[in-house]
Amino acid sequence: MNIVASNKTNEKVLLMGNEAIARGAIEGGVEVVTAYPGTPSSEIVETLAEIANDFDYYVEWSINEKVAFDIAAGASILGARSLVVMKNAGLNVAMDTFMTLPYTGIKGGMVVVVADDPGAHYSSNEQDTRFAAVYAEIPCLEPANQQEAKEMTKEAFEISEALELPVFLRSVTRLSQASGDVILGEFKKPFKKIGFNKHWKMPYRWNVYGPPGPVNKHKWIHLQMEKSKEIIEKSKFNTFTLPANTNIGIIASGLGASYTLEAISELGLEGKLAFLKLGFAYPLPEEKLRKILKDLKKLIVIEEGDPVIERQVRSFAQDIFTEIEIFGKERRQILNPYGELNGDCVVKGISKAIGLQLKENQKRVNIKREIQKKVSPRSSTLCAGCPHLGTYWAVKKALQDRKGVHIVNGDIGCYEQGGYGVFSHKINPTDDNSKAYSISSPYEILDTIYVMGSGIGMAMGQSQAGYKDGKILAVAGDSTFFHATLPAVVNAVYTKADITYLVLDNSWTCMTGHQPNPTTGINTTGEKTKVIDISKIAEMMGITCIRVVDPYKVEESIQAIQEALDFKGPSLVILRRECALQVQRREKHKNPQTFIDRDKCTGCKQCLRLGCPAITFDNENKIAGIDSLLCVDCGLCNQICSFGAITLKKGNNYV
């Protein structure tokens, strides 16, 4: 049984931050849950989907964050408690309704969970979405540990209903993806009392344009946020310690507060500093702030992400406490305004602000520097037997035969690794206007990568700008096709853009942990549902050159891509083959039958260029090998070896 569904109240268990948020939602009586998967947020709804049958809520993986947000909002204005979950970049997609919903407010508690990614471990950028909560003028909670993540999620429903506004809960990678001890609470039975009243408490309540109009509805948000002050001031999530005779203080929020507590103990400063731990990044508890600032000369602000709290504190302090020196990520900078926090940089930052000298063992530093040189990088790779390996091999071959500087626009998904490069491969940039580079591995094939759905749009821009130096391609996965590229495909047909769009259809949303999507055939909770065929949609949208091919078939894939590249106008190739990991999990693949014929292998390393992690190379004997722990017998290396040296044991077939 999943521990998140455990009814053992008061038991202490190990929960991941995301599991703790899922548990908090159930303890808060959630009724409708929506999300689009995105690391580091995915396990919240993955968990809620897995245990959905034990509880009385609705849960879905929506097509994108905007749709997910609208669904949660629709449920909430009927009075249902709703939870919508996304990663940092996902909020950008949902932004339209996110900015407007507070004007009407909501009825049933609505909690918006956004997991940021300082350090950009799994994201295109480090954006701090707490700014978005300030922008939309709604309360923003920021948990410091897994226990708080659970408590805050639960409490957020109450605050949301008290203020009739959505409440924002901001997590970060190191909270969502980390685990800690959590004491389980009681489940709350969902209210299940939904109803619709067009003029609920106010005229034209659910219509921003309805009288008295958007400006008055904006004014109403400010009245509600004024009311929030009392809640914020009393909240158990904002706590402070104020020892006598100190003129140095720290304000820290979220995970920053956890690093700070450890730094205080490391530096032996317990009981010597004023410390305000904030659970709300917006709005700030002004009374508590006033009390702590009163006697201070120096204030250090420690927060994960951008200086969101620091700016609010500075703006608050500037009229009343003009003498205080404020240290943080801007002006008196003690922490980098980029990258993520860790215990070491917080210790150094605090020391710098208060003028403590840290001892450094120079001898050890030198030894470490020498050893560090031996630690070679480990580039990330696609999995053994990944269908994308076949796709990228075919793309490389198809483009190799054509002169020019071709552009392959990437997108977001496992296949984005096609643009990560080989970490130890040194690049020498030049200022040539157009320049072709040789491609030695599938990890060097994508030329541009930004965000979900941007690849095909970029390709259209290159086509419409009149680029003639080479072919223009865009790549996206099946889930991305539905999430963000449908309008772009229509646009391409409508404007006759001369581009080739490759959809890498492996039937799952893989990079975020294999969630189902409209190409999978099952829904969020595993029930059978209709498979939506991408080629049929494209055909109805007006694309006339469509090829569907199996990327495990190398020659056919090259041929299909060549035909699409030759076509004038928008063309589409769907490279369809289920994710090899999912097939493995289902079919429990036995020992692989692929092996290297040692008499035929010439040591040419052609097979290594496929980029499959199951192919090894014995440098002493100059011979390739197959890692039997990884190989799935996909047959790709068999097709690309020019010497017939990679083959199957007798009586076996490739998948």
């Binding site: 190191r174 909270l175 860790n342 560090q372 990330s380 790779t381």
Partner: protein
């Protein structure tokens, strides 16, 4: 306070191993009535499912708050792969700490394509010695195959850890959590793997 980092390559099972250990640490604290003890488990892994460097930080203690071990403060580095043991160890191992290392290499694409070099095992061990760390090595992959499957290498390493005097979590509780957390069909193989790893290191330490 006890700090440990489990280092490996995506797919080797370091995340499962770290969850087993952290879960066992919580159960041990509950069994002892230590209500102040907190456990944190922080993980760093690449975007991919497989093949990238993975490090799981486990912290146990009453003054633990954040999920990451500071530099030079890891009491134990459990290396499921030699290069990853070194990658983590050089930054985090505490002077006097223990590195328990599986000697089976998992070569990177960088090494396979000749763009980077893989340091020798003796060079890696020598590096740890320079950092004043103690090193215990074993071919955990070979031991796991003996137990029934190479996939149980991560549990062999947990057994090896359990044999070290620095390990704060009772062997019995670790075995109990293994039973709860590994797929039910593989419980026997995993318990065998744990025992073989435990025995190997116990014998080496006795010598």
């Amino acid at each position: 306070m006890f700090n440990m980092i489990i280092a490996g390559v995506g797919g080797q099972g370091s995340i499962l191993a770290s969850h087993i250990f952290a879960d066992a640490a919580i159960r041990a604290s509950v069994a002892n009535g230590d209500n102040d003890i907190k456990v944190r488990l922080g993980e760093t892994f690449g975007a991919a499912m497989r093949g990238g460097a993975v490090a799981s930080h486990v912290k146990i203690g009453s003054d633990v708050f954040s999920p990451f071990v500071p530099e030079d403060k890891s009491d134990v580095v459990l290396g499921l792969e030699p290069l990853e043991a070194l990658r983590v160890g050089v930054k985090y191992i505490a002077p006097g700490g223990i590195v328990i290392m599986n000697i089976r290499k998992y070569e990177s694409v960088d090494v396979k394509t000749g763009q980077a070099e893989y340091p020798s095992i003796s060079d890696i061990i020598g590096s740890f010695k320079k950092l004043n760390a103690n090193v215990i090595t074993l071919d955990a992959t070979e031991i796991a195959i003996k137990a029934g499957t190479a996939k149980a290498m991560n549990v062999v390493m947990l057994g090896a850890l359990a044999a070290c005097p620095k390990n704060p979590v009772p062997r019995k509780i670790l075995e109990e959590v293994i039973k709860d957390r590994v797929p039910s069909k593989t419980i026997e193989v995993n318990l065998k793997a744990f025992e073989l790893g435990f025995n190997k290191v116990s014998e080496d330490l006795r010598k």
